[in-house]
Amino acid sequence: MPNPQLVMYDEEYRLVTALCEKLLREANARVIFLVDKNGQLIAGVGETERFDTTSLASLTAGNIAATGGLAKLIGEKEFSILFHEGEKDNLHISIVAGRVILVVLFDNRSSLGLVRLRVKKASEELAALFNGLMKKAEEKEKSGNPEFPFAEITDEDIDNLFR
């Protein structure tokens, strides 16, 4: 398969969320999201309830995919940072560990310079965490993960979804 399956466990989820919380404080941001390149939300901290996080995740991934396509056309590997400036709020979007998208939403209480600086540091920590997570998932997959919830799913379970 082209990409390995992305999984998230409790332990890593806590660590990821803690790193995002720290970045939120240090960058003076309003919201921070982590999104899978396929458009699925991984984690969010800050004023998340004010945003439609599912839509945000899908559009961010579409945005990264489209600019990635553009980059290839002009002979770049990818654009690792995107910045969208609004009247009040701004979006700083960057790629971590090659497959996770870090989205920082900030207003005039912060600045692009500060966000950039803090994102850089946080990205390294997040990258280490995600690389570890991929390895762990691979190992669990090889050894047959006993927690895997779908191993014993029945036709009935599936039919029940559509009642």
Partner: protein, 195 residues
Amino acid sequence: MSFINYASREINCKIVYYGPGLCGKTTNLQYIYNKTADGAKGKMISLATETERTLFFDFLPLELGEIRGFKTRFHLYTVPGQVFYDASRKLILRGVDGVVFVADSQEERMDANVESLDNLRYNLEEQGYDLDKLPYVVQYNKRDLAEIVAVDELQRELNPTAVPDFEACAVTGEGVFETLKAVAKLVLVDLKKGR
């Protein structure tokens, strides 16, 4: 690729509706959106031109319910059908878990169906997927119109591998949920097999 989150006990899967321009992909999603209870769906996003042709994709997140304590979410995407949007179609296929090919049953659209199906297979291969190994179903849409191709001929031309297929009229919703259920089921069965 599906995303399994053990921390929030969720699983997300991505389903792509593929097919030639104007075959009814967006209409399928609109019907599903209209008939799904508020709590079970998110906002439908359509990145469309001013004339409502899909420009990049439509997106509809659905939450079907729980399996073994895991919230099961399906993210439905459509691609833009016109030939010149090929670069966008490739992007949307990334990370796909299941595919619906929507065919336009009208005689005059037969060539477009064949071309789009070839394009689907080719674009998947380019990204390392084999259509014959993916959860995949076919829908023959617009069965309500007059000058349409017979189903057995559509099957011969567009479904030689005999995957589950459905007749539909997306504007009235006939066959729409049957198609979705079938592909969702294949995706879940595939997840189970994957281990």
